[in-house]
Structures are given as structure tokens and as C-alpha cells.
Symmetry: C2
Subunit: 111 residues, 2 copies
């Protein structure tokens, strides 16, 4: 299991926690999700992304940003705005977003 996790970031930084439950109308979703994952990397101050989804259940994506300006730049991205619109129209039953300023983080890695 060589899955990467975002870690080792120096606080302060920000976590944008996106929790969601999808509909069954997922046409186009996979393609757009991959595109967004590539596009966000171009945002200055973007630090990484973790993502998990229980099949048929809850999905959680955590995006890490250096500062509020980086988050605002991603929010202003027009292709991202269009993806959000499609999400509300088609892919998501519900979602929540929690933007937090991280002052403390730590990790563990098996030796």
C-alpha cells in the first residue's frame, strides 16, 4: 500500500473539507473530477489534496492551501465554478464545506 497522504506541512495553512453524498446521475463526473484535480495544482499556494469515498456512501475531499488568497483564487476559477454548477445540478445530493485554519498537525509512518 503506497498511497500518498498529504503531511509534513508547516502551519499555518488551511484545510478545505468537502463532504458529499452523490446522486446516481454521475455522467461526466469522473472526467471533471480528474480535470479539477489537475487544474487546482496550478493555483499558487495550493499544497495538496486527499480524497476518499465509501462506495455508495459519503465522500470526503480535503484540499490544503497556504493562505486565504489561494482559496479565493481557486474559487474564482471559471472552469471550477462551472464544475460546481454541474455538481449542484446533477452529481450531488448534498454537500458541506468547512474551511479551517490549521495551527497544529502531526503524523505517523510505520518504520
Amino acid at each position: 500500500m503506497s498511497h500518498h497522504l498529504v503531511g509534513g506541512l508547516e502551519p499555518p495553512y488551511y484545510t478545505v473539507v468537502f463532504t458529499s453524498v452523490q446522486t446516481q446521475e454521475l455522467e461526466g463526473y469522473g472526467e471533471v473530477a480528474v480535470r479539477m484535480g489537475q487544474l487546482v495544482k496550478d493555483v499558487p499556494g495550493f499544497l495538496g489534496l486527499d480524497s476518499a469515498r465509501t462506495p455508495g456512501g459519503v465522500g470526503i475531499t480535503v484540499a490544503y492551501f497556504r493562505d486565504e488568497e489561494a482559496i479565493a483564487a481557486w474559487r474564482r476559477n471559471l472552469e471550477h465554478q462551472e464544475a460546481q454548477r454541474r455538481g449542484r445540478e446533477q452529481w450531488y445530493q448534498r454537500y458541506s464545506v468547512h474551511v479551517g485554519r490549521v495551527e497544529r498537525s502531526y503524523g505517523f509512518e510505520r518504520g
Copy 2:
């Protein structure tokens, strides 16, 4: 799909983001995970929990707390400390924890 998501919390509050990759030695894990999910509910200031795991991949749990004192109380819980010890010894290949203070949150629910 009637999965619940934590939402509608009034800032400020805290997100504790726990990302992990498991080992293949999961004996005892399910039972302890269920127990921890019950036990944390008794912590004053605990606000909720979201959890997702991609099969064979990354898991993300987000715990929501009203304040730092609530997080500290959960960290002091001895049964929780024992579960963490077993996690490092047996269940987790790696994990990261990011503690963030939330000043802004929002959500969407299909009408």
C-alpha cells in the same frame, strides 16, 4: 441515499482531519472503531463525525469540536489513547492529523 453529513454548525468550531492508510492487519479494528465512535459522543463540545474510506486505499475521518478544550478532553481519554497505540502498532501504515479552526462553512442540499 439518506447518508447524513455534518453541516449547519455555527463557526467558530474545529475540524480534526485524520487521513490514513491501513495495513492488512485489521484484526480488532472494526470493533474498536465502532467503540470510539460511540465514546467520543460523550465528550462535551463534540459536534459530529464524518468518515469515508476508498476500499484498499485512503481513509478520511473528520471530527468536529466546539473548542480546543473538547479536543484536549478527547485526547486525554485513556480508552482512546489505547486505541491510538494499537493503531500505530497494528492497523495503520501511516496517518496524518490536521487540526483547523473553522471560521466559514456552507452547504447544499437538493430541493
